[in-house]
């Protein structure tokens, strides 16, 4: 247990080796180091899981402390980790999915000149994410938080020749920074209220000192949630995620689908006690989650870039996770996080192999009929789509359904309705993607078409593994049957205090079985309806979407341009700031201050020019001045 530091250290070592000597090592070796680091980290994580499972459920947490990081006055922060079921789940997801994506990247990035630099950044990301997840106090988490922000900046802007890539990287970092600004303020407020940043100490002090709904706790939770909104791309601060697709696809899979974006959900789950103490924040989180889900899903309907569709679907699914946490079902939120990591990574990698096959083509309108050419990719992609749509045996069904169920049970009727609609939209746009990409006649330009090839083995195997996980991932949490909630049981001790505060004691009292069954039926029906609708629109009558686009032209344009949110931000925030900077520079710095400074200089100069004229050179005048001086003296004397 003491050697927990190995887990983040391994990828960091990988980063150092590849970073410093990457260019001098043979390509194959670089790949092995990176994947080896992740693999070993995964093994270490599973060994840790095995030790954790030996412990009694309530005793399953360790807090190894390594050294004091900052000490100033009574403020003290130590570098220490917290290993408990919640962080265990996250570590396994990060290292597991991370390892698969590393293996996949070997194939995908093979020809890229920046190969070692890519793997160095990927390993650095993994270690930063692990640091975030395993942190025992808010500040170490913040270090990981900004570390992953940096890696996403480096990786989005990996192909730095592309202007759009470096712009997207900069945008991602700055929007994240805005979120971190809120997170930082949250940290300050936490410290000055509880005197410490350690999770356990904060929660114990909070339970004792604050009644539910206390203003300070609401403040802290909202500020922390601002950080989560920035990192997990929720409503106001989601704009950076779609642009983040400029980075290589495995990066989008790892960072912008499976791990980094879920950091916000993990943080909310980790601070479940605080959120439970602040019902207003819980409501706020749920509301933001739900609106983001529906909002992003609606944009996803009309996007034509394969990765953009998946990006908006990620934003939407994250909305669902926050909805889960917001209604108090932290277990459901984390469960959906895990399953989403599996099938979204699968979908992105599938998209990656499609792009790889079509040598860079990303627009689905110029694809079609790839079913026969890329059988493995097609099969795994469909399984992923079924999972995300929430069709019965797949993981998505169990996790999304539990969130919907918990939302209904906690009395949020409206949110349940919206979420259900969102699920339908999800099914629709996913299968629109599937049909346009894999079915129908191929719209590919002939040049790209003839050398389409199936993904090589290093890319296909991870796809298959992920497909298997998407299928079986949900079976750890089967509602209704006895002992079905394996995953729930594992996580319950972490959210014990939170669920007690929220009144319902962790799903122990089962609502009548028929209600649960009925709700499951409803959600599957909605999903199937979405699929058939998509089938109807894109398979049977390909012209129908074009007609619909003309009929609802305005609505289509708004959706296609992402409700003009980017332009709105540009107009209301970015440009005015630049303009203000330019004018202050001209006016305040140049004219006002510099003017004043140079002004005094030239004032003295002109004054001296005036005074200089007294020096006429005539003796008379000099004698006169001597006399004048003497007279002044005499007057002075008389005045005495």
């Amino acid at each position: 247990m003491e050697t927990a530091w190995v887990i983040p250290a391994l990828p960091f070592a990988g980063f150092l080796i590849n970073g410093l000597w990457g260019r001098r090592l043979p390509k194959k070796f670089v790949g092995w180091i990176a994947c080896g680091a992740m693999g070993l980290a995964f093994l270490a994580a599973s060994r840790l899981l095995w030790i954790l499972l030996q412990e009694t459920p309530t005793g399953r947490f360790w807090e190894p402390v390594y050294y004091t990081w900052i000490r100033a006055g009574d403020f003290q922060v130590d570098v220490s980790f917290l290993i408990d079921p919640l962080s265990m789940v996250m570590i396994l997801v990060v290292t597991g999915v991370g390892f698969l994506i590393h293996v996949y990247s070997i194939g995908y990035m093979h020809e890229d000149p920046g190969y070692p630099r890519y793997f160095a950044y990927l390993n650095l990301f993994a270690s930063a994410m692990l640091l975030l997840v395993m942190a025992n106090n808010l500040l170490v988490m913040f270090v990981g938080w900004e570390g992953v922000g940096l890696c996403s900046y480096l990786l989005i802007g990996f192909w730095y020749e592309k202007q759009s890539a470096s712009d997207a990287g900069k945008k991602a970092f700055i929007v994240n920074r805005i979120g971190d600004f809120g997170f930082l303020l949250g940290i300050f407020l936490t410290f000055w209220t509880f005197g410490s940043l350690n999770f356990r100490e904060i929660f114990e002090a909070a339970l004792v000192r604050f009644p539910t709904g206390d203003a300070v706790v609401v403040g802290i939770t909202l500020l922390l949630f601002v950080g989560a909104m920035g990192k997990s791309a929720q409503i106001p601060l989601y704009v950076w995620l779609p642009d983040a697709m400029e980075g290589p696809t495995p990066v989008s899979a790892l960072i912008h689908a499976a791990t980094m974006v879920t950091a916000g959900v993990y943080m909310v789950a980790r601070c479940s006690v605080l959120y439970a103490l602040a019902p207003f924040s819980m409501g706020f989180v749920a509301m933001i989650g739900c609106t983001t889900a529906v909002f992003a899903a609606s944009i996803g309907l009309v996007q034509n870039d394969i990765k953009r569709v998946l990006a908006y679907s990620t934003v939407s699914q994250l909305g669902y996770m926050f909805l889960g946490c917001g209604v108090g079902a932290f277990v459901a939120g984390i469960f959906h996080l895990m399953t989403h990591a599996f099938f979204k990574a699968l979908l992105f990698l599938g998209a990656g192999s499609v792009i790889h096959a079509l040598s860079g083509e990303q627009d689905i309108q110029r694809m079609g009929g790839l079913r026969s050419k890329l059988p493995v990719t097609f099969a795994t992609f469909v399984m992923g789509s079924l999972a995300i749509a929430g069709i019965f045996p797949f993981a998505g069904f169990f996790s999304k359904d539990e969130i919907l169920f918990e939302t209904l049970m906690s009395g949020h009727w409206v949110l349940y309705g919206l979420a259900l609609g969102g699920a339908g939209l999800t099914a629709f746009y996913m299968f629109r993607l599937v049909f346009l990409t894999f079915f129908g006649e191929s719209r590919m330009d002939p040049h790209a078409a003839h050398h389409v090839h199936e993904a090589p083995r290093t890319m296909a195997v991870p796809l298959m593994i992920l497909a298997a996980l998407s299928l079986t991932g949900g079976w750890v949490q089967i509602p209704g049957i006895e002992g079905g909630r394996v995953f729930g049981a594992f996580l319950d001790p972490v959210f014990h205090e939170a669920s007690q505060l929220l009144g319902h004691h962790g799903g122990a009292t089962h609502p009548p079985l028929w209600l649960e069954g009925a709700l499951m039926g409803v959600s599957v029906a909605v999903a199937l309806a979405g699929i058939f609708l998509a089938y109807g629109w894109y398979m049977k009558d390909p012209q129908r979407p074009v007609r619909a686009a003309q009929k609802f032209a305005r609505a289509y344009r708004w959706l296609f341009h992402k409700y003009y949110v980017d332009e709105f931000y540009q107009a209301t925030v970015v440009n005015p700031l630049k303009q203000a900077a330019e004018s202050t520079h001209q006016w305040v710095d140049r004219r006002f201050i510099d003017g004043a400074v140079d002004g005094t200089g030239s004032a003295f100069r002109s004054l001296s020019a005036v005074v200089r004229r007294i020096q006429t050179g005539l003796v008379h005048h000099y004698a006169l001045s001597v006399l004048a001086g003497a007279c002044v003296l005499l007057l002075f004397v008389l005045a005495l």
Binding site: T68, A72, G73, G157, F173, L184, A581
Partner: protein, 522 residues
């Protein structure tokens, strides 16, 4: 405080002068000998500084390595040196950057190398002297001595375009400020002489004399003007961009890394302990100016076309943070301020070194002339990236620790100040990354950039120690924080006590008490 038989501090301060004397006898032609003498002198100075660092005992709050000899006994002026928690780190920074600066100008300076090195060594003496002198007049002498070499550096080796204007502006601006400080010193000296009868410019004696509130206000302003110009704080900052842009690489490194710290050091060494009530009285004003400095500096960076001017304005923003920390009157805030002084020295010093290297290759400072440099010069890009990340305060590097502590301390006093200060963090990310993007990323547009050669081993050897220090402070800041903690806590306790005792004394005091109650009430 044991006074060593071996006058370590005097050696440390006057070693560069020995270097100057040696240089005078080296004939003008063989520049190699001149460079090596300067390097060895600076290197040896750093070793001496390490001795001081090693022998320094943080627990003992008073001044250490003290040396006191009569200089002008008639007027009570003594040659009194000493170092304590606050000045130790700054002395180390100056000594650390000495050899690096000499190395940096190895190939850069062509004409009149001997005078250049003499100016650099004189500057080093002046700076070290300022940080270790405990006698007001001695402090003033070192403060002014450092003015001439810096002005000459800008004047003779600066960029031909506006170097005269920049040198004159720098010289007069700083002198105008420090001249008011001289009047302040004299008034303080004679008030102390009248009340206690003893004639002494010694800091320790003067600190014991409680000053009336009105006198404290005037003296705070007199000293404050000199330090505010040096920091530079908002309205007095216009000399900085000109001085930085026109100075030669090494000049701007020294100017940014050490000279600016004299202002903040002055506030911490003189204004807080000597005029506590006035400091608390002026707290809102100083905090407001600091915040304006932070945001205004960041705004200016957004529109700069010249790389060096951009970094210069970023210094205005960073030092606004330091002032924010110092005037938060919380241990965290002041500790953060002290550490941020060192961090800014390292990160901005590194940035200026790198810009100097770029200038050596391309002979231009305009951002538009660069573009896509990441392909021809990857090593330079990585170092530049690290320095940028350190300066925008990425956790894990040094910038974050300082800024975090400052904002933490300020939040305790008044959250809205911390919120405004924290916006500086966002703006910093914006203008720095935008600059990095325009310079390093994108396609190579100008033909000249394609053939640039990457960093030479000398240059890498120059930058590695700075990066190592950045990571060390980022990962393990306590090694440095605990050195200055007792001294900072002691100063703040003194301020608190004298504010407490003063509360009953005179009427116009109500405002300051309100500020203080608010402070301690939370």
């Amino acid at each position: 405080m044991e006074s060593l038989s071996f006058p370590l501090l005097s050696f440390l301060v006057f070693l560069p002068l020995v270097g100057v004397l040696v240089l005078l006898f080296v004939d003008r032609e063989n520049e190699a000998v001149q460079r090596w003498t300067a390097l060895t002198v600076m290197g040896f100075g750093f070793v001496l500084a390490l001795f001081v660092y090693g022998g320094f005992d943080p627990e003992n709050v008073g001044f250490q390595f003290e040396e006191q000899y009569a200089w002008i006994p008639g007027l009570g002026i003594s040659y009194h040196l000493g170092v304590d928690g606050i000045s130790l780190l700054l002395v180390m920074l100056t000594a650390f950057l000495g050899p690096i600066c000499v190395l940096a100008c190895w190939t850069d300076i062509r004409s009149r190398l001997k005078e250049f090195l003499v100016c650099l060594l004189l500057l080093q003496t002046g700076m070290l002297g300022v940080f270790v002198s405990l006698d007001l007049v001695l402090f003033y002498v070192f403060w002014e001595v450092m003015l001439i070499p810096m002005a000459l550096l800008i004047l003779i080796w600066g960029h031909p375009a506006r170097r005269v204007y920049a040198a004159v502006k720098f010289f007069l601006y700083t002198m105008a400020g420090s001249v008011f400080m001289l009047v302040g010193i004299l008034v303080l000296y004679f008030y102390q002489a009248r009340t206690t009868g003893t004639l002494s410019f010694d800091l320790t004696n003067i600190a014991e004399v409680p000053l009336p509130f009105s006198l404290q206000l005037w003296l705070f302003l007199a000293f404050g003007v000199a330090f505010a110009i040096k920091v530079p704080m908002f309205p007095f900052h216009t000399w900085l961009p000109d001085a930085h842009t026109e100075a030669p690489t090494v000049g701007s490194v020294v100017l940014a890394a050490v000279l600016l710290k004299m202002g903040t050091y002055g506030f911490l060494r003189f204004n807080l302990p000597l005029f506590p009530e006035a400091s608390v009285f002026f707290m809102p004003v100083m905090i407001a100016l600091a915040l304006v400095g932070i945001i205004y500096g960041a705004f200016m960076c957004l529109v700069q076309k010249d790389l060096k001017r951009l970094i210069a304005f970023s210094s205005v923003s960073h030092l606004g943070f330091v002032i924010l920390g110092i005037f938060s009157f919380t241990v965290q805030g002041v500790q953060g301020g002290v550490l941020q002084m060192i961090n800014h020295g390292l990160s901005t010093g590194a940035l200026f070194l790198l810009v100097g290297m770029l200038y050596e290759r391309r002979h231009t400072r305009m951002i538009a002339d660069f573009g896509g440099l990441s392909t021809p010069v990857p090593a330079l890009t990585t170092f530049f990236m690290i320095a940028t990340l350190a300066s925008i305060g990425l956790p894990g590097l040094n910038g974050f620790v300082g800024e975090f502590l400052i904002l933490l301390g300020t939040f305790h006093v008044k959250p809205v100040w911390a919120v405004l200060g924290a916006t500086g963090v966002i703006l910093a990310a914006w203008y720095m990354l935008w600059m990095v993007q325009r310079v390093f990323y994108g396609r190579v547009v100008h033909e000249e950039n394609r053939g640039l050669l990457d960093l030479a081993p000398r240059e890498i050897g120059l930058l590695v120690p700075v990066v190592v220090m950045m990571v060390w402070i980022g990962v393990a800041p306590t090694t440095f924080l605990e050195k200055s903690e007792p001294a900072v806590a002691h100063t703040l306790r003194r301020v608190q006590e004298s504010v407490q005792t003063a509360q009953g004394r005179n009427a116009p005091w109500a405002m300051a008490c309100a500020a203080w109650d608010h402070l301690t009430g939370k």
